[in-house]
Symmetry: C2
Subunit: 101 residues, 2 copies
């Protein structure tokens, strides 16, 4: 069994995107809110600077976790539509035959 995974494994990418306190917090907020949140709200609420927030949002975006939609000067972010499904799928492969779904 070859265990040396290629770096672009989408599952690893997704997990890496979530494996940061700030980014996980962002995703939690998006989930709890249930609708798009303006990037500027994250800048105000998070204890890190604007460039850092922007960097984090980019990581999440490129991992397919979130999507952004520009509205004038603002960009509203929301969870990607397939995120829940991806989470569920990964869970099934990681938990074996246990009934996760």
């Amino acid at each position: 069994m070859i265990a040396n995974m290629a770096a672009p494994d989408p599952d690893v990418r997704l997990l890496q995107a979530l494996a940061d306190p700030v980014r996980l917090s962002v995703v939690r907020q998006l989930a709890a809110q249930g609708r798009p949140i303006c990037a500027c709200d994250f800048v105000e609420c998070c204890a890190v600077s604007q460039p850092t927030i922007s960097h984090h949002l980019r990581v999440l975006r490129e991992a397919g976790v979130i999507r952004g939609e520009r509205q004038g000067s603002f960009i509203f972010y929301a969870l990607a539509q397939d995120f829940a499904l991806r989470w569920r799928d990964i869970g099934q492969t990681l938990s074996g035959l246990l009934a996760v779904a």
Copy 2:
């Protein structure tokens, strides 16, 4: 909303443990096998050295993803019993009201 999460957030810890190609592969194998696997099998199958495997197993162990049971010279690892539940719980908090479970 304070977004500066404390480092010991168990969810972040768990995600960090999984967010490595080798470690994710280990967990996938444990899930697919459905029963404990000897550490020595990982050493043989993974394209990294024995100390690295041991280090990875430790990270997974300390994050609560796996449990080891020594049998003589050998240690057999299996997924922690609550892993599936934890995955499911995190999924629920991250996916909002979507029916993940």
